[in-house]
Symmetry: C2
DNA sequence: TTGAAAGCGCTAACAA
DNA sequence: TTGTTAGCGCTTTCAA
């Protein structure tokens, strides 16, 4: 009863045609006589034949799979990126190979090099500086990059970090905040842009920025940094955090230390992860539209694979989402 | 300068050996004379030869890839499961094919059937009742199932939902809660067990359980259900939620409605997602060790693929994590 | 220790 | 519309 899996030859034999015919039929490459069509349909049904994707890939050179690497899948921002990419991939009949690099650059390269042979294209979310990314190009696979590449020539999707930072800072200023701090994460390639946006808005008012740097883009890093900020020598009215995770951690710790947000200090983050809605106070955030970023990257990659000329850089707009962690200061 | 990718034949030719020799060398299947070894090493290095995984898979029937399907990657519980599975896979040289079924059963089957030919094994997190899962067995691939299968014969990994529910309920009772409610999500296969655990603890004290059912395992569903619970006819001391997302949503809405947690009502959830720590009050939760579940499933699958006889069911223990959403009631 | 030969399951010219 | 014929890049007997 246990029959070995049916191959194209089994089908051809059973239907009394050549396997080329079966191949063409299965792939809908051609029209057929009703007789053959009927026989093939029924035989395939009967044998439960499904073409072997490996054999197919080997010969066509296309795998119908896309490799996606992110830095940490448990960070809701990346989870959303994956969501968006996954949805588009599925809609186009592509499979997603996920790589969680866990913020480990050494892993990243090796994993991606291995992966590259098994996929039609790559989407890469990395912290590795462009200067060290030549191997990515050398892979010879279509790839989409998250960020604004200067040096490497890869189609990219970026959030409008600088504008987002500028916007939220202007908002803070309009609320009467004067002494603004930035809790950055310098290892991120986005850190610079966000800081620049904040600085720019501040500079327009002749204000200086106080900068702190977190050791990780995580809530616990935000918690750790809190005391040195709220109890430090430079009192702050407002703190712009590199991301929501840091902001959440900071707020929690601040509260433990007896500081009230936003009464004592306003806090904002980036990414607008859903959990910013459930902290208290709710977290004001710059929505970078993570899911849309993932979807846009996948669409772009698929277009490139299709031979279409995709625009080099897609910028997803940022949007300020106001919640209770910021308030008017008198 | 643009050279096409090197094949095993190129290497064989350049090194003056047969491609069988190259194959054996690359796979370390055999020992070689120093001369051959040296030549091969240098030629491979020079040509940058890497064996084509597709061709390899086609012939050996092994892909070194595992398919993992989850219900919603933006739910931190699943993100953690993926994290755990991904880590173990990477450590063993396996690649992860991720499927986000988005809670859509129709998608699930099709995606998994497609996937099954490209992977050596499958890990499936599903809501589909076992009775409708015969196709999964028919795929003929090693598979690991999340849950406690009754009917189908698949190695599985399960959390100890019933015990976890029992524990947290006993805790609530010991704090003096009497009128306990359960916000369930009946579509989940885990819902029954959690409810049973709560019921059992309550029954020991002769208490009844009030049950509500959410339309989704999400924060917004929790928000929606809130008013009918806190403003309903049956006042509650405590609410056990199917998961942390529901609990978070509920708490937020309760607060908006002017109810205080835990003063007016204690709230607990399941999964112990990290964001339960940042809500306020912090959310008491049953930690099901999501990441460990993912890792355990992957380990089990890999063992099965390796031909080892894995135990049929691995149960990951539950642990109560106390935070401020529960308090002694007088 | 090495190589020759026979495929794995499929597609892609090209003929018929 | 259908079939023939070559492989794709690799592994695997089996013989040398």
């Amino acid at each position: 009863m246990k029959k070995t899996i049916a191959t194209i030859r089994d089908v051809a034999a059973a239907a009394g045609v050549s396997n080329a015919t079966v191949s063409k039929f299965v792939n809908g490459t051609q029209r057929f006589s009703p007789a053959v069509e009927a026989r093939l349909t029924s035989v395939i049904e009967q044998l439960g034949y499904r073409s072997n994707p490996m054999a197919q890939s080997m010969i066509t050179g296309r795998t119908k799979a896309i490799g996606l690497s992110v830095l940490d899948i448990t960070n809701p921002h990346y989870a959303s990126v994956v969501k968006g990419a996954s949805r588009v991939a599925q809609d186009h009949g592509y499979t997603l190979l996920l790589v969680d690099t866990e913020e480990t650059p050494e892993r990243e390269r090796h994993l991606l090099e291995t992966l590259s042979r098994r996929v039609d294209g790559l989407i890469v979310y990395t912290r590795t500086p462009e200067a060290e990314l030549d191997w990515l190009m050398a892979l010879g696979r279509p790839a989409v990059y998250f960020g604004r590449p200067q040096r490497i020539n890869l189609p990219s999707v970026a959030s409008d970090d600088e504008l987002g930072a500028f916007m939220v800072t202007r908002h803070l200023l309009s609320q009467g905040h004067q002494r603004v701090g930035y809790m950055g994460f310098s290892r991120s390639l986005r850190d610079r842009e966000r800081m620049a946006g904040v600085r720019e808005a501040l500079a327009a008012q002749g204000l200086e920025l106080t900068v702190f740097n977190a050791e990780a883009p995580s809530a616990s890093a935000g918690e750790k940094l809190c005391s040195s900020i709220v109890l430090g020598r430079q009192p702050l009215d407002a703190l712009v955090c590199f991301n929501d995770l840091l902001a959440l951690g900071f707020m929690k710790a601040a509260q433990v230390l007896g500081f009230k947000v936003p009464d004592d200090i306003s806090v904002v983050g980036f990414d607008n992860i859903q959990f910013g809605h459930f902290s208290c106070p709710g977290l004001t955030s710059v929505d970078l539209h993570s899911e849309r970023m993932g979807a846009a990257a996948m669409r772009k990659l698929l277009a490139t694979i299709d031979g279409q000329e995709a625009e080099p850089l897609t910028v997803i707009d940022a949007q300020l989402v106001l919640r209770a962690s910021t308030a008017v200061r008198n």
